[in-house]
């Protein structure tokens, strides 16, 4: 469905060039649920803009549903439904008018348009508000309307750029219910970028992007297993001493020990040693207040590959809105 080959985007300016996307390649199969993860500025949104022909790649190419995006922009756009990171509705129009205008811009005849609009508004639970101005809608309702709008022209590929950013947990859950249902029923390919790693957990494959490059790619399970079998979390009165001890005895842990909160160190079980996680903990000659062992999650994978957490950025972003 999506084929990106050495895709590169350089923003040129008088103050010098900035490489936003640095020669990435990836492919997404038909019907697949593919997630793009990365900190802000990693190049995710730039990649999406190239997919919908808003930006021309500096080099490399991107092919969607067998069509080169640069050569056939409109044919490609007709096949894509996109939910933008930021709101993109006309809030001076009613929900129904937003759908109607979208349908007309995508060349859908009025009968099909009405049938689909009715159905989608119903499914998204905003049927009774159809004739209200969008400016009176809550954030969750606006998002659901945007999803309805993105689906209206029956796209083959649904692009979701941070679809649940700024939504309360309840709205987030309902948004995902709808997306999963569309996937199940229609077999639509879904391309997601998100900050919420648990949302990416249910995807078929994940690509992690950092500074314009794809640094890891695979199924969530594979990526977690590649990182480590176990994650160890240790709380101690003297984290610096523990840190020094761990690096001295297990050099592979260099740059892999994370500090979480007061005196808590988090690190993967070093590869190639015979110890069980508990044996390793017992062998530490420093006083330990509390310790736990768990399976790695995507958060751990993400931090390992990008050297940064997402959690704080998340908080910042929500604060801005």
């Amino acid at each position: 469905m999506i084929e990106a080959i050495n895709l590169k985007k350089v923003y040129r300016s008088r103050r010098g060039d900035r490489v936003a996307v640095d020669g990435i390649s990836f492919s997404v199969r038909e019907g697949e649920f593919f997630s793009f993860l990365g900190p802000n500025g990693a190049g995710k949104t730039t990649t999406i803009q190239m997919m919908v022909a808003l930006l021309a790649p500096t080099s490399g190419e991107i092919i969607i549903d067998g069509l080169n995006v640069v050569t056939y922009p409109h044919q490609v756009r007709q096949r894509i439904g996109i939910i933008f990171q930021d709101p993109s509705l006309d809030d001076r129009l009613t929900a129904w008018e937003n759908l109607e205008f979208h349908g007309r811009l995508y060349g859908i005849d009025s009968r099909t348009r009405d049938k689909r609009s009715n159905f989608l508004l119903d499914v998204m639970g905003i049927s009774e508000r159809r004739n209200d101005l969008v400016r009176t809608f809550s954030g969750g309702m606006k998002r659901r309307l945007e999803i309805a709008r993105g689906l209206l022209h029956s796209p083959r590929l649904l692009i979701l750029d941070e679809p649940t950013l700024g939504l309360d947990p309840h709205s987030r859950r309902s948004v995902w219910e709808y997306i999963h249902r569309v996937r199940r029923d229609v077999g639509m390919t879904v391309f997601l970028t998100t900050h919420y790693l648990e949302e990416a957990d249910s995807s078929d494959r994940v690509a992690i992007m950092s500074s314009g490059k794809i640094v890891a790619q695979g199924t969530p399970d594979r990526l977690k297993k590649d990182l480590s079998s176990e994650m160890l979390s240790v709380e101690t009165a003297n984290p610096d001493a523990l840190n020094a001890y761990l690096i001295a005895h297990y050099p592979s842990l260099q740059n892999q020990i994370r500090r979480e909160g007061d005196g808590i160190l988090l690190f993967p079980l070093p590869p190639g040693i015979d110890l069980s996680p508990w044996d390793l903990l017992r062998s530490i000659p420093l006083p330990i207040r509390e310790a736990s062992v768990r399976r790695p999650n995507l958060d751990d994978v993400f931090i390992y590959h990008t050297g940064s957490g997402l959690k704080n950025e998340n908080a910042d972003k929500r604060g801005e809105r």
Binding site: H74, S88, L93, K115, V123, R156
Partner: protein
Amino acid sequence: MMEKDVSFKATLGGAPPILASPLKRDLMGIYTLWQRDVIRLWRDRIRLVGSFIQPLLFLFILGSGLSPRMGAMGIMRSGGPLGYQGFLFPGIVAMSVLFTASFAGVAIVWDREVGFLKEVLVAPLSRTAVVLGKIFGGATNSVVQGSLILLLFPLFHLHISPERLILAFLVMILIGLTQTSVGVLLGVRMTSSQGFMVLMNFVILPLFFLSGALYPLDRLPGWLSVASRVDPLSYGVDLLRWDLVGVHYHSLWTDLSSLFVFMGIMGVLSVVLFNKTD
């Protein structure tokens, strides 16, 4: 809610609709964007009334205040002398068209700010269609605004025949299209509406003051005469004044051809510039 007997598959499944011809798609897009602007104008009736005030102040206060002096100058027309209010009236009609038309530019900037522009830009639609839709929408708004002022003509003791009114309507369309193109041209590259407002002050007011809406264009100092000649609005005002009160300073041919040339240049520039963005 989720247990509907109609499924996603039945409603959304199947191949995507076959793309209509580019021309048909673009025409539909232009019509849709135009209709959106008209709906928004109708919803924003308050603004329509609000922008009614300014022209009235010009006509009643400035018009009355300057009337004794300007009237003494003796602006002549074929039927006899023309009072200053009568002289001013077409200029103020043109002014309200100009001010509203310039809003089409800020409307593009707003669309960018609230994100709706993205929705339009990722639609299978040429950028030319987007610009044209915006120009037609803005021009419609400005002609509606101008018509509201135009219909006040009996208050100023003017006698205008229905045919003249229809002709004035056509002239306003021409002015509206030209000035909306100017607005859109300025709005296409702007990303903040505050910035646009500042820029507009540097553009709209000179366009208005140089247009001859407030004073006769003959016997102007040299530099002013030159400046007014490059102001597209001066030809629109001239045409409107010829139609409504029978006074004009350029030949009709000059007026019409200048307006069309300006409109063409501005329209083409907007399209070219818009195609380059992002």
